[in-house]
Symmetry: C2
Subunit: 294 residues, 2 copies
């Protein structure tokens, strides 16, 4: 059975430090989301612990687990009981390798597969390249009971390439579990600009691709990092149709997949892509004589 519209629920939660506390809260909020009508339920990035990438610490690798594995099993049970699609971010261990992974569970509790974060950041406070091997599974769309979900994670959101390729695989909605924070050393103006840019670029993926975009961030202050929340859904015209504040919250948003088709008729960008001219996108930087002009 297929649905042409559904309710997406974004679980904007803050970390309670331990795995036990975080999974317990997540299950509680999933139940709440479903009771309010949520059908595709998305948890934020790495919600099972504090955001550990803020420091280099070998012990943090102990947090990783296989996917599928214990957490997937727990989420599968919830998905089956609640008949909800659940997107669950997990720090994945695979032999000697570790990935920033998103597991997708269908509304009958079946495990559909996983996406491994392709773009890995590495900036002050976000030392992810130490922890995560860059994703090796490519871009993914999962046909779930309630819609075709394109899976992307946090830093991926700054790359139009990732959104485009995922949309071209048939996604009704691009979902970005996220852990983005303001740092203490940033000025108020920087924090506002960063938040605004973060929102704008994701709206642009909706516009460029004529599909829904959802982003679910964590909240709370951890060691001076202020996770700003602001989870939101943008419709295929880029309108923000639901947006959370900076507190813990279950954000619901009705999505009508037929809107994508309608918008793509009004703006037929896919028709006009100059695919004969895009080869340079597989290169790094092509300016040659222009390196240091100033």
């Amino acid at each position: 059975m297929k649905y042409s519209s559904t309710s997406v629920a974004l679980i904007q939660q803050h970390s309670e430090q331990t795995y036990e506390n975080n999974i317990k809260k997540a299950l509680h909020l999933i139940k709440k989301a479903v009771s309010e009508g949520g059908r595709i339920v998305c948890l934020p990035e790495l919600f099972l612990s504090d955001y550990f990438c803020k420091a280099y610490d070998e012990q943090h690798f102990d947090l990783a687990e296989p996917v599928p594995g214990p957490t997937v099993k727990t989420i599968q049970e919830a998905a089956k009981v609640y008949e909800a699609v659940i997107l669950c971010s997990i720090f994945e261990k695979d032999g000697p390798l570790h990935y920033n992974t998103l597991a997708v569970i269908d509304a009958d509790g079946s495990y559909l597969g996983k996406y491994r974060k392709m773009h890995i950041p590495d900036d002050p406070g976000f030392y992810e390249k130490y922890y995560f091997t860059p994703g090796d599974l490519g871009y993914k769309v999962f046909s779930t009971r309630y819609g075709r979900v394109g899976t992307l994670i946090c830093w991926d959101q700054w790359f139009p390439e990732a959104a485009r390729i995922t949309a071209m695989k048939g996604a009704d909605i691009l979902v970005y579990p996220t852990a983005i924070a303001a740092l203490e050393e940033e000025t108020d103006q920087q924090q506002k600009e960063y938040h605004k840019a973060w929102r704008t670029i994701q709206q642009s993926h909706a516009i460029a691709n004529g599909c829904y975009v959802a982003s679910v961030n964590r909240v709370g202050v951890e060691d001076g990092m202020k996770f700003w929340g602001g989870s939101f859904v943008a419709d295929p015209m880029g309108n923000v149709t639901a947006e959370a504040g900076s507190e813990e919250e279950v954000l619901l948003c009705d999505c009508d997949w037929n809107r994508n088709e309608q918008v793509r008729r009004e703006w037929p960008f896919f028709r006009d892509r100059r695919i004969d001219s895009y080869q340079a996108l597989t290169g790094r930087w092509t300016a040659d004589d222009l390196q240091q002009p100033y």
Copy 2:
């Protein structure tokens, strides 16, 4: 001599119907722009005539001219006198072919080259595929006296691929001469949404690429098409730093090219592009078993 900052002037003009009137007004507004400090002066798309693509009419091909040709010569003279870089949109004739072209003139009056619009729209009121052969010169950046100018045109603005490739060629600023209008049959809400989406996606090119973006639209009502103006400049963080209303106007904006370098240090997206995974961008649409799910 190279400049690390400059003033960009966007000439938001409405058509006076005839070539003579329009070139005269353009020259007058170029003079005004320069007198107010403008150094890189951009004219809107196809400003030398009414927006003729609103109808199928073979006679309109008479409007085309070679590039370089008479208009380039006139603009070269102005550029030399005013020591301004001038970006001049021209309906180009090249043998049996016609292009939507942007000529770039340096501040010493020299002709640096041209860009031919790569993405051609074709929607009710915008029958551009009838008039224009899709560009065959690829994406372009011109090293002018006052900065490295990436040239794109109108419909190109909806394609993150075009912005990315042009930025990777070393552009300090992406400039989009534009002719975008609201149609009479559109609701107020549609008109607002379209304008907002148009602004948002161009802001996103600035963010994704860490460079300035400028868009210069025409104004005025022509045969029920209301060209909405709203020319603007976005800085490399996506902030709109100057924005015009819906009347004829010369919009000036100071741009600091060193800002690009600064923002690219804060957000090193170019470092993290997964160029090994972007091959699919040279394809059309890759969903296979997902064609008609609803």
